[in-house]
């Protein structure tokens, strides 16, 4: 698929990286020649140097024949204009990053009247992701399949966990919850475990199941965390605004610390149910004074990664139940090692969203049947949901007779709303939803899972 990406900021680069890995033909456009050169050197893409709003540049980038354009420059207006022009020039689908809350109300208008296929607001999506994590604090991260029927949660095995050094078949016997361990991350490596795989301390496991069963599993294993009532947010940027709004709507107590006085007044004005504190949230005295130790959760959302990490580490040391850290430079892989379980970065969240859209686009072109797709463990593991087509050739064949690829796992099958964790006797039937977990390869079609 021919895709044009305009703007090589953090989001643009993240998306280039992800979409190149999916095998698409990418053309990147930026006004900064150095950025274009460095991207062309690192990834297999074509670079065009110029302003993505001008017809000339878009023509050079091949807008007439492109399937999709993604406008991710720093300016919302440029992004919208870029999409409109590319659309008129023949690009079929358009995605614009629009993040000014002022425009949030007219998303519908942008989509329906101006014909922009998708509006991405990384800050809003990030806030949304954080609020989901806060609503379900036991998991480090959480994604859902089959319209929310099935969740996939990541949980860290701490050294006091009863599962330490226990093979997976034992766990199945001990724990009555109907969940499946579908991926294990151990330091830099990722495993798709079989029954005799032995878990160790500090592994991070991904489990699938319904939300109730996952909660059940966590209660049994002692990793269950209390419901979160009190949340402290450090930093009053856009993500903080959206997050505070989302969380206060669910009746939680929010304390937001921001160091710019004017911004504090703005926030206090727009968020009446939130306690806005004027002060430096990275100052230990202020954190203690504002009662950090009485909080259930702390979310550090300042614009500086280092400060977020330091504040989060301090909160961890104080024994805060749930600590969430926003990091822009996600490329450093040590954050898990220093004890920060839940790390969120806006460009990864937005990048996943766009990748999902691109996959769906690919589906509709008849190339693949993926319904939903999640990248776990820093993109090393993929969990994808497929619908079994009719007359596929492999339906109604028991799994023990099917020759599946190594490092691949059928997470579960959803048939008429019922969830099945397949054993050797189970079969796939037409119209079933099947969740496939794989490491190290891209599955585009259910056919690809067989040897």
């Amino acid at each position: 698929m021919n895709i044009i990406i305009v703007g090589l900021g953090k989001l643009g680069i993240t998306m280039t990286k992800q979409l190149v890995a999916e095998g698409h033909s990418i053309t990147v456009v930026d006004t900064n020649n150095e950025k274009v050169t460095s991207i062309v050197d690192t990834y297999d893409v074509m670079g065009v140097w110029g302003n993505g709003v001008t017809c000339e540049t878009l023509e050079t980038a091949g807008a007439a024949k492109a399937k999709l354009i993604i406008a991710a420059t720093a300016s919302d207006e440029v992004n919208i204009l870029c999409c409109l022009i590319a659309n008129k020039m023949g690009t079929e689908n358009t995605i614009a990053r629009v993040r000014n809350p002022d425009y949030a109300a007219q998303m519908q208008f942008l989509r329906n009247e101006l014909g922009i296929s998708m509006i991405v607001n990384p800050e809003y999506e990030t806030a949304n992701e954080i609020s989901r994590i806060i609503r379900f604090p036991s998991a480090a991260n959480l994604d859902s399949f089959a319209r929310g029927k099935i969740e996939i949660a990541r949980v860290r095995i701490h050294s006091d966990n009863i599962f330490c050094n226990m093979p997976i078949y034992e766990i199945r016997k001990k724990c009555k919850a109907k969940v499946l361990i579908c991926a294990v991350q151990r330091e830099e490596d990722v495993y798709i475990p079989s029954g005799d795989f032995v878990l160790r301390c500090d592994d991070t496991i991904s489990i699938t199941g319904t939300r109730a069963e996952i909660s059940h599993f966590m209660k049994q294993t002692g990793v269950y965390k209390q419901k979160i009532k009190n949340v402290m947010i450090i930093g009053g940027g856009r993500i903080a605004y959206y997050l505070a709004k989302l969380l206060s709507d669910t009746g939680r107590n929010i304390k937001l610390i921001e160091q710019n006085e004017n911004r504090c007044y703005e926030l206090a004005d727009t968020l009446p149910d939130v306690t806005v504190i004027y002060g430096d949230g990275t100052d230990q005295d202020i954190l203690d004074e504002q009662g950090l130790e009485f909080q259930d959760a702390l979310v550090s959302l300042t614009g500086i990664d280092e400060e977020n990490i330091i504040v989060s580490m301090y909160a961890e040391s104080k024994g805060i139940n749930k600590v969430i850290t926003k990091v822009n430079r996600h490329s450093f892989s040590i954050l898990n090692d220093i004890g920060l379980e839940t790390v969120v970065s806006p460009q990864i969240v937005a990048g996943n969203l766009v990748t999902r859209y691109v996959r769906a686009l690919h589906n509709s072109a008849g190339n693949s049947q993926i319904q939903t797709l999640y990248k776990l463990v820093g993109g090393k593991v993929e969990a994808a949901e497929f619908i079994v087509p009719e007359d596929a050739g492999y339906e109604n064949v028991p799994f023990r007779d099917l020759n599946l690829l190594p490092n691949l796992l059928i997470g579960c099958i959803i048939r008429n709303g019922k969830i099945i964790f397949p054993g050797g006797d189970d079969v796939m039937k037409a119209h079933d939803s099947v969740i496939v977990v794989t490491a190290g390869r891209i599955i585009e079609d259910l056919h690809d899972i067989f040897v």
Partner: protein
């Protein structure tokens, strides 16, 4: 430096060379020649060394600019070492250094030979000689990129080190697709020339070999008298036109393919190239018409020789060493200039010359009015200042390497014209020079050391200096960047 990845890539190239050697082996079978065994030995040697290198793909696949350069330089040197084996094993070229020189001359599309009599060689070796031109013309690493199922994202570093020209872009967003388009155009053009030559009555084997040599702008011929030996105006004109065609940037043909021919014809480098060709042909033809040649013959010889030299092919239809001095000087200029960037030809390249002249004019303007700011423009687009600078540096380095090589070669005690044009002809990948290395001469009489220096010049010229010169830097071999 990522040594494992470098070995892996080089191993892959050696295996590809082994596969390519199957073609001359088939020729040896068809003509029932004894050289078959020497080809078989070479293929075996390449496989034995290449297979262990590619057996396991390294875990760390990241390569950077430096690794790209080292891969390209080492690949070309090793390819030439192994490619020389059939000549040596078969005993037709008794000295290994001579065989190496001949193969480097082949892969770099130079076409300088150390053979006093070409017609004595068996057909399979003649085929291999010209086939190396065809492989080297578009570049073997580009070929590897084209045939591999999946490109590593950093292959761009490799492509950039091998494809000639001041800036290297892609035709389409995927490198592999770009490489395939390039090779597609290359194959089709070669095939068209082959058919046209057969249609003109040239023997099938000669047509094929000559087409390979033209496509790579190499210049190895089958006959001792090069193209003159066929004495056919038709064949000469077909070859002249195709030499000029292969001297054009291949991006132009791609633009025709995607129906943007109008833009392609406006290309400044193309116009400049055609202008230089027409101007040189007229000047040389006028000069020749005043000597023993008729007007028709003057144009015929002038056109063929200009096409042969500017595209750095090096075929000959006349002994231009006996022509008037004025024409020889024009030919020496053309030797420096060379073909267009992104073509199969060598030399400094027309686009670099344009940038050099334009930046020179700009600096004169700046001397007149020091406060004036002006950019160098090609095709109405501003050329980046780093590119302008790199072109000047390239030119200076080219001159220094030429001068230094001339100094070393002069130890052999040949005359000035022979020594200088031998080096220039190797640096620009042309083939014949003037004097004793003229179209009727050869490189056999140089000392073994001189032949190695000239081989280095040929590789340096083909890979545009940096990859070869970098091998001398100890930092290039350090594991880390320093």
């Amino acid at each position: 430096m990522n040594y494992r990845m470098v070995f892996y890539n080089i191993g892959r190239i050696l295996l590809v060379e082994a596969a390519l050697l199957a073609f001359p082996a088939i020729v040896a079978i068809i003509y029932n020649e004894k050289t078959l065994i020497s080809f078989a030995l070479t293929i075996a040697a390449l496989t034995v060394i290449g297979l262990p290198a590619v057996r396991k793909k390294p875990k760390k696949t990241a390569i950077y600019a430096k690794d790209g350069y080292v891969i390209v330089a080492m690949a070309w040197i090793l390819m030439s070492l192994f490619g020389a084996m059939p000549f040596y094993f078969s005993g037709h070229i008794p000295s290994f250094i001579d065989s190496f020189f001949e193969t480097v001359s082949g892969f770099t599309t130079t076409g300088s030979t150390i053979l006093r009599s070409i017609e004595n060689l068996p057909k399979s070796l003649l085929f291999w000689r010209s086939f190396t031109h065809w492989i080297g013309g578009m570049g073997i690493l580009v070929f590897v990129i084209a045939i591999m199922p999946k490109t590593e994202s950093s292959s761009m570093h490799v492509m950039r080190a091998e494809v000639p020209g001041p800036t290297v872009g892609k035709l389409v967003s995927k490198l592999r697709a770009s490489a395939r388009i390039l090779y597609g155009i290359y194959c089709i053009l070669t095939a068209v020339q082959f058919v046209l030559l057969i249609a003109g009555g040239m023997p099938v084997f000669d047509s094929m070999v000559t087409s390979f040599a033209t496509a790579g702008t190499g210049g190895f011929a089958v006959l001792n008298n090069s193209i003159e030996g066929y004495n056919s105006v038709y064949a000469e004109m077909v070859i002249a036109v195709f030499m000029l065609i292969f001297g054009v940037n291949f991006n132009i043909y791609y633009m025709f393919l995607i129906k943007q021919g109008k833009h392609a014809l406006k290309n400044e480098e193309l116009r400049c190239y055609i202008g230089i060709v027409i101007g040189s042909v007229i000047l040389i033809a006028i000069c020749l018409a005043n000597t023993k040649y008729s007007i028709g013959d003057s144009i015929r010889y002038a056109l063929f020789q200009v096409a042969s030299i500017i595209t750095t092919t090096g075929f000959s239809t006349a002994n231009f060493d006996t022509w008037p001095v004025f024409t020889k000087i024009i030919l020496v200029f053309l030797m420096f200039i060379g073909a267009c960037a992104g073509s199969t030809g060598g030399g400094i390249k027309v686009s670099r010359l344009m940038i050099l002249v334009k930046s020179g004019l700009r600096d004169i303007k700046k001397a007149i009015n020091p406060r004036s700011i002006e950019t160098v423009k090609v095709d109405k687009h501003t050329v980046d200042e780093p590119v302008v600078k790199s072109v000047s540096v390239f030119f200076a380095t080219y001159m220094i390497v030429t001068a230094f090589s001339t100094l070393i070669i002069s130890i052999d005690g040949r005359d000035l014209v022979t020594t200088f044009t031998a080096v220039l002809s190797c640096m620009s990948n042309i083939g014949p020079g003037l004097g004793a290395v003229g179209p009727y001469g050869n490189f056999a009489d140089f000392s073994a050391f001189s032949k190695l220096v000239l081989s280095f010049d040929m590789l340096a010229g083909r890979l545009e200096l940096i990859p070869m010169l970098m091998l001398f830097s100890p930092y290039a071999w350090a594991k880390k960047y320093s």
